[in-house]
């Protein structure tokens, strides 16, 4: 007996739906259920800190999540090929407390990034605010966007 192809794919769709519902149930019970992809991304320690890179026209902006770190805990170095951020986060249990749960961990980190264009090292600024490191890198004059006038003939 043959079944139409569409029937089979419907069966798989049902299985998919079943898996999604189970994931949702488990997520309700325990929000840290690792099936949640956003959760898995946020908690994998393969790359710390998480970094976003923006192109702001005349500059590049690097943002990194560094909760609990202050300006003096983070080092930003700029060289020919790119930018590096490094530092160490120390998490020590407060004095006189016993721990029920420790998910925040001490971590030493160092990450390097190749930038898409040349930058001007003199005009680079870095700051930490609300646990987010922001490095603003001014593009080199030759990498600045240039407006080309369109001429009529």
């Amino acid at each position: 007996m043959f079944s139409r192809f569409g029937d089979t794919s419907r069966d798989f769709a049902l299985l998919d739906e079943f898996r999604r519902r189970m994931d949702r149930v488990l997520e309700d019970i325990d929000p840290s259920w690792p099936a949640n992809p956003a959760h898995a991304r946020a908690h994998s320690s393969s790359a710390w800190p998480r970094v976003n890179l923006y192109d702001g026209g005349s500059n590049l902006v690097l943002k990194a999540d560094v909760p609990g770190l202050s300006e003096k805990d983070v080092h930003v170095t700029l060289n020919e090929s790119g930018v590096s951020i490094s530092g160490e986060r120390k998490v020590a249990p407060p004095e006189g407390y016993s721990a029920h749960r420790q998910e925040r961990s001490s971590i030493g980190f160092s990450r390097s990034f190749t930038l898409p264009c040349k930058v001007n090292p003199e005009q680079t600024q870095a700051s930490v605010k609300n646990g987010v490191l922001t490095v603003t890198l001014a593009k080199a004059p030759e990498a600045q966007p240039r407006q080309i006038a369109v001429q009529a003939h």
């Binding site: 929000p31 956003a38 991304r41 006189g96 609300n130």
Partner: protein, 128 residues
Amino acid sequence: MANQTDLVTRSSGRIEAVQQREAIAPVVDVYENVDELLLLVDVPGATNDGIDVQLDKGQLTILAKRREDAPGSLLAAEYQACDYLRVFSVPAGIDPAKIDAQLSGGVLRLRLPKSESVKPRRIEVKQG
């Protein structure tokens, strides 16, 4: 059902609520001493006005909204604007009025003082 007391019935097959932003569970440390419970929550990018902490029926809900102002077009992304959400069951004997929350450097510090009745007390032994 004879013992149905719910004022509002909701069918379990209701349409899934649409969520605009992702909510991720932030990492949390929980400490305790004789006076209080102390929670440390990593919420990078969250600001004071985006934080909502509620204690209701023994459930502590921590919600922090991340405000992200993109300084340009995104070239590479490892994180995105999200809400941090975590719910804990809190043991009895926490005074909801005295809960104190402080945000500094992307770390939320929550202090849940115990009420006097659950604090350990030393009993003096009197001479008979």
